[in-house]
């Protein structure tokens, strides 16, 4: 648990001794850290007074794990990593020619996603497919889209935005309010929500043009919180913490509807048995298409003048300005386009849930999206998609692990540990791979041939 970074050269005899010493040290530290919080639990008794329950067994487990972990780290893992590094350094650097699978990975992944719902339906039946399509497919794809949208702001333009969820909220509430007050359909409101969000992106982007780095992050965090607090407190319009429910579902371009009572109901039109799975599968394809558009637009934008300007801005703002690039419009377009995709995702979220409340737009969501962007490797679209699948899919998976109940007793609820594990994963992945899952970048401007470069050559921007 506690890292003691003494890197003395490893002699096999002393290594075990050193590992033992550090394990004891880690044990002491973890005992100190956990003795109050794990060893004792505050519970309320019948008279509503707090009393302490003792859990020394659990404390012993925590300390034991910390000691064993530290011992293995020092005695086994670290020498192994060092040996691997040495071996790699000794080998001449060769660049393997990418095979056909590797080269077309994007298309293969997209094809697999297109085939995902029919395969799941074939395997688990209509009702059984709901869980996979909705909890895994749609949920992950929403985060992929949000992360790709944020990637334009953070990964390309290098503007650190900690309040991205505000635009997601603007999109969701635009759809919820406009559809319930004016009865407009999803397909009309989807672009509208994007435009409104982009508008907010410009409004919030304008005052922060002069700010850089951490300060920008904190102001965007403040804006995100302000928008959430307004949603909570402006009860006449937003109904406050109760949220807006009964939001209209999306339809297949107005041709078929998914409302059970509607005459043009999808299932009725095709004489299929009634099921809620059709709507989810339809939504899956909608979000998949939206993700594809996001990816297409960001890839194309990157090699357009505006995308080049974003990346130049990320690398060096002063050089950028002295070359005559208008940094104001460059920053604002980045904010606006990033926010627009957030707004699209928000409108989709509203249509999918049928319910929006400020609960869904807390700071934690911004942090999760930013974490996905950074963990995936800023600027790498594929890495971000992988990170979203791992982080969101992984935490969703915890919901499914009911077999753990058998191991840890019926009181064990894996959901509780979802965010705890998510946070730990954020820290561990970041420490092990600071440049994200995909450590290489594809430059858009190159001499003679396109070569992947290491992520460490790209800057993360100061503005």
């Amino acid at each position: 648990m506690a890292a003691n970074t003494t890197n003395s050269p490893a002699r096999p005899g002393s290594l075990v001794g050193q590992a033992l010493r550090e394990a004891v040290f880690a044990g002491l530290i973890s005992f100190g850290m956990f003795v109050l919080f794990v060893g004792l639990k505050t519970d309320q008794n019948m008279r509503n007074e707090l009393v302490l329950t003792q859990r020394w067994g659990l404390l012993a487990v925590f300390v034991g794990v910390a000691m064993a972990g530290r011992f293995l780290m020092v005695a086994a893992v670290r020498p192994w990593i060092a040996a691997r590094k040495a071996e790699r350094a000794a080998r001449p650097a060769t660049v393997a020619e990418a095979g056909p699978i590797r080269r077309n990975l994007h298309y293969i992944a997209f094809g697999a996603l297109v085939l995902f719902p029919p395969v799941v339906v074939a395997l688990f039946g209509m009702q059984g497919s709901l869980k996979f399509v909705d909890n895994f497919g749609i949920q992950i794809l929403i985060y992929v889209m949000l992360a790709w949208g944020l990637n334009i702001v953070v990964g390309l333009a290098g503007l650190l935005d900690l309040g991205y969820v505000a635009f997601y909220a603007v999109g969701a509430y635009s759809y919820a309010l406009l559809s319930s007050h004016f009865g407009l359909s999803f397909w009309v409101l989807l672009p509208l929500a994007g435009i409104l969000s982009a508008f907010w992106g410009v409004i919030l982007g304008f005052p922060v043009l002069r700010l850089r780095g951490d300060y920008l992050a904190i102001v965007t965090l403040a804006f995100g919180e302000i928008i959430r607090l307004v949603l909570v407190n402006w009860t006449e319009v937003t109904k406050g913490t109760f949220g807006i429910s009964g939001i209209a579902k999306a339809s297949v371009f107005g041709i078929w509807s998914f409302d059970v009572s509607a005459p043009n109901n999808f299932a009725k039109a095709f004489d299929l048995p009634m099921s809620s799975a059709y709507y989810k599968i339809f939504l899956f394809y909608v979000i998949l298409a939206m993700c594809a558009i996001t990816a297409f637009v960001s890839i194309r934008l990157r090699s357009m003048p505006i995308g080049r300007a974003w990346e130049a801005l990320r690398e060096d703002e002063i050089a950028c300005r002295s070359l005559g690039i208008n940094t104001v419009t460059t920053k604002l377009t980045a904010f606006a386009i990033g926010a627009m995709f957030g707004g699209f995702a928000g409108a989709f979220f509203g249509a999918r849930q049928g319910f929006v409340s400020p609960e869904s737009f807390v700071f934690l969501e911004s942090a999760v999206i930013l974490a996905i962007v950074v963990l995936g490797g800023m600027g790498s679209m594929f890495g971000i998609a992988v990170a979203a699948a791992v982080m969101i899919g992984g935490t969703e998976l915890l919901r499914e692990m009911s077999f753990l109940k058998a191991a840890f007793g019926p009181d064990f609820t894996p959901e509780l540990y979802r965010m705890l594990i998510f946070g730990l994963a954020m820290v561990i992945v970041m420490v092990l791979k600071p440049r994200g899952f995909v450590g290489t970048r594809q430059p858009t401007a190159f001499l003679h041939e396109r070569k992947a470069i290491s992520g460490s050559f790209t800057k993360e921007g100061h503005g």
């Binding site: 648990m1 506690a2 890292a3 970074t5 530290i29 100190g32 850290m33 109050l36 919080f37 794990v38 004792l40 505050t42 309320q44 509503n48 007074e49 707090l50 009393v51 302490l52 650190l160 005052p207 922060v208 002069r210 700010l211 780095g213 951490d214 300060y215 992050a217 904190i218 102001v219 965090l221 403040a222 804006f223 919180e225 302000i226 607090l229 307004v230 909570v232 407190n233 002063i318 700071f363 934690l364 930013l370 974490a371 950074v374 963990l375 800023m378 509780l416 540990y417 965010m419 705890l420 998510f422 946070g423 730990l424 994963a425 954020m426 820290v427 970041m430 420490v431 600071p434 993360e460």
Partner: protein
Amino acid sequence: MEYFIQQTVNGLTLGSIYGMIAIGYTMVYGIIGMINFAHGDVFMLGAFAALIAYLILAAIFASVPVALALLVMMAVAIVMTSLWNWTIERIAYRPLRGSFRLAPLITAIGMSIVLSNFIQVTQGPRNKPIAPMVSKVYDVGGISISLKQILIVVITIVMMTVFWFIVNRTSLGRAQRATEQDRKMAALLGVDVDRTISITFVMGAALAGVAGTMFLMYYGVTVFSDGFIPGVKAFTAAVLGGIGSLPGALLGGLLIGLIESLWSAYFSIDYKDVATFSILAVVLIFKPSGILGRPEIEKV
């Protein structure tokens, strides 16, 4: 007028707590230029440590003098937060020193999530109330000042004096200031930079522990999610006062506390957090160096 003074007193009390947390942000930001996002949750951890210490005391002894109980709670909270923050720095921030700037920010956010969820999992998600420890209230010309408030302000002043002394008058403080100015040069001149940074984290955490104890004593209740909002407000305070400046952090904390309580008194209590966040945005936009901070000179 009395109402105004009453609200000012309340605001100053709240501001003292924010100021103490803000010191942790400002010292860490000053020395390694990172926002220790988990600091608010370290503060929450301090409140829980104090709570558990209080319950242990209550379980063992029939009655403990309040002053002694408070001292013990504060000591336990300081030890706990220091240990935690030290470990967090070791495992989450130190390996990333020298990496790109976003990396430690991400681990700090991760650690913040870990800490609040750790407490939620181990201590349960419900509010944890304790019986009021100090309930004496003085009446000064129509304004009621409680002993709690006096205690908080006095303890804040004492802690600030101690910290001011450490930073400005000891060799440790000199090492800290040297590391802040130029880490590499400080290392070349024989300052143990890693150790200095660790101690800075421990010092900030100690103040967060004190603030946590004060928070628990003042409100008589704590919950696992208590770290975020005070954390952001304390960071606002640190920025408002000028990040990197110790008196600035206290000044900023007091201002934030005042604004918050006066805003709640005269405008709307619902929007008090909006007021704080707006101030943060406005200050950063128009005077990013804060009230007492030095303007950052950009090197090209």
